[in-house]
């Protein structure tokens, strides 16, 4: 569905607070705009973002029409164990984008 840029540090010390950044290309069409034909362009926004760390949800967000195109989210998390950080975005058309990043904790 989209292009994604993820920033997760590849390695971290146990207990270290790390910043995770996730950027995705999406029009975030508000549903309030009219197209060239004068009709409303149907709303299509990413409505939910979730992030799992080795299967456990560590962050989620509900998104709304006032959020600009190509939403960028960043948040902090404690690096607890080596494993996979998984990202999921779902939009109004129920298109799902999945990405993962590996982290090694020493």
């Amino acid at each position: 569905m989209a292009r994604v840029l993820i920033n997760v540090p590849p390695t971290a010390k146990r207990g270290q607070i790390i910043e995770i950044k996730a950027l995705i290309s999406h029009p975030m069409e508000t549903g309030f705009r009219t197209g060239p034909d004068g009709n409303l362009v149907p709303r299509n926004i990413i409505k939910r973002f979730t992030c799992n760390y080795n299967g456990e949800e560590i962050f989620s967000a509900d998104l709304f029409p006032a959020i600009a195109a190509n939403p960028f989210l960043s948040f902090m998390v404690a690096a607890t164990e080596t494993g996979l950080i998984a990202f999921q975005w779902i939009d109004d058309q129920d298109q799902v984008q999945l990405e993962t990043a590996k982290i090694t904790v020493e």
Binding site: I6, N7, L23, M28, N70, S74
Partner: protein, 264 residues
């Protein structure tokens, strides 16, 4: 509204001519005072541009990389088939565009050059101006020059076109009757509504403009400025726009390329 200095630009130019000086090389803005639009932005916007995993322009650069490696047209060739790794072959190219094209006997800009390859070398339908594909390829190619100094305008055959671009830049136009220079040379650093007037250096294009919520070309930016003074903008891809682009690049000689920049 904008306050104009008491001595007009024409007065200043006439003064130089009386002294027998030629204002031929580069800017009305002294070299030491030249500043990229980057410097006028908020720290948040600057941080966005500086982090390649936060800069939304990088999403389009990735699209461009994919297109660079995709086969297209009747010739069945990708850009990479002829040019190899863009990292090597396209390094510094955007810094010297618009460049003189012998066949067309005039300058063409980077997007024009890319579309020429698409048409002639790939035997494919050229991309529409300002289409996501053309912007993506231009952003990808220009990104290979990031950090390199602008060298456009060195070819002596470009001289008359630089002068034409300069004339367009200095010509008053539109219902508000402003020239580009009235804002960008005489009033840079001042506010117009909520925006700071930058010096109009084309260092970051194609770039991600927050207002557009998208990547756009320098010509799209210039259209915005022209409609801003209620002038009829030139058509995208027109010789007037290419001459203006060339003059702006020449005027920014030596400044580093930032593509993909972020601007408000």
């Amino acid at each position: 509204m904008i306050r104009l200095p008491p001595r007009t630009r024409w007065g200043a130019a006439a003064g130089l001519m009386v002294l027998g000086l030629s204002p031929a090389f580069a800017a009305e803005i002294p070299l030491a005072e030249r500043r990229s639009g980057f410097d006028f932005m908020s720290r948040d916007s600057q941080a966005l541009q500086h982090d390649d995993t936060a800069n939304p322009g990088m999403l389009l650069v990735l699209d461009g990389e994919m297109l660079w490696n995709s086969m297209a047209g009747a010739a069945g060739r990708s850009c990479a088939d002829c040019h190899g790794a863009a990292l090597v072959s396209m390094k510094g190219v955007a810094a010297r565009y618009p460049a003189y094209n012998a066949e067309h006997r005039r300058p063409i800009d980077l997007q024009g050059r890319i579309n020429l390859c698409r048409e002639v070398k790939q035997n494919a339908t050229p991309f529409a101006w300002e289409s996501p594909e053309l912007l993506a390829l231009a952003a990808y190619v220009a990104h290979q020059s990031r950090g390199m100094p602008i060298t456009a305008g060195e070819d002596p055959r470009l001289q008359p076109f630089i002068e034409r671009g300069r004339a367009l830049y200095e010509q008053r136009q539109g219902q508000l009757n402003f020239s580009c220079a009235n804002c960008h040379d005489d009033n840079w650093g001042q506010k117009l509504g909520g925006s700071v007037i930058p010096q109009a250096h084309p260092t970051g294009y194609p770039l991600y403009r927050l207002e557009w919520q998208a990547v756009g070309s320098l010509q799209r930016r210039l259209r915005n400025c022209m409609t801003g003074v209620r002038a009829e903008p030139y058509p995208l891809g027109s010789p007037e726009f290419v001459d203006l682009e060339l003059f702006l690049m020449f005027r920014a000689w030596g400044m580093p390329i930032e593509t993909p920049a972020v601007r408000p």
